[in-house]
Symmetry: C2
Amino acid sequence: MTSPAPHPLDTVFAALADPTRRAILTMLLEDDMAVTDVAHPFAMSLAAISKHLAVLADAGLITQEKRGRVKWCKLEPDALRAASVWMQGFGQFDPVDLDAFERFLASELPEDSEI
Amino acid sequence: MTSPAPHPLDTVFAALADPTRRAILTMLLEDDMAVTDVAHPFAMSLAAISKHLAVLADAGLITQEKRGRVKWCKLEPDALRAASVWMQGFGQFDPVDLDAFERFLASELPEDSEI
DNA sequence: GGGATCGTCAACCGGTTGGTTGAATATGCG
DNA sequence: CGCATATTCAACCAACCGGTTGACGATCCC
């Protein structure tokens, strides 16, 4: 609370700078997930994933709703809008190049065996 | 050199996560600049700006060409393409909303700048 | 109640980041 | 040459990051 509140783009870009967090976002593109299920494909502790999810939530990229004892994670793609707009200012980047996206998606998803 | 070479998106997003570096990119949108001139509007040492420029260059977001004793910094907006494509995969974000960009530009430029 | 599951908290650790200073290296110029 | 300008290098520092482990509070279910 005492910190001078960083620019929203700071937290969004910082959240996106980690491959684990980008992979999580990609997974959530499919469907909402519980924390434990998010953690499953990764070779790291549940606590680590919990922290990553907190970072994503702080950036507004996901929301977490606790239902019963399981906490559901939901993608909030609108949080990317400001960042996307900022980048668009530097040029028009193939607004809808889904082929390229599929390639990135494939290269970013955890391989289940190892990340 | 021993590090396992991070994903390109890691370095690009990490570079964008700092407001000083985003401001530098915005300045370079206007024109190529020398390191000293880049540093001028900021309230920090030249060495600090030099480091920021190294981060941007490492991410491929700028190139630096030394001509005489002055090193010119040039924006390389193509480096944003992969990041932009990645984000577009989460939704179409107003591909060309330049009004919004102008607002962000105004809010991101260093205060005393008349660049 | 009691045990298993879900998730976070707290403390710790090594590595990185963003900044500082002061010295060093080029280069241009009178 | 000798000095000013342009930029980086090196060492240092506090703060942050990404990860671990172990203990803990909730919640479900028998």
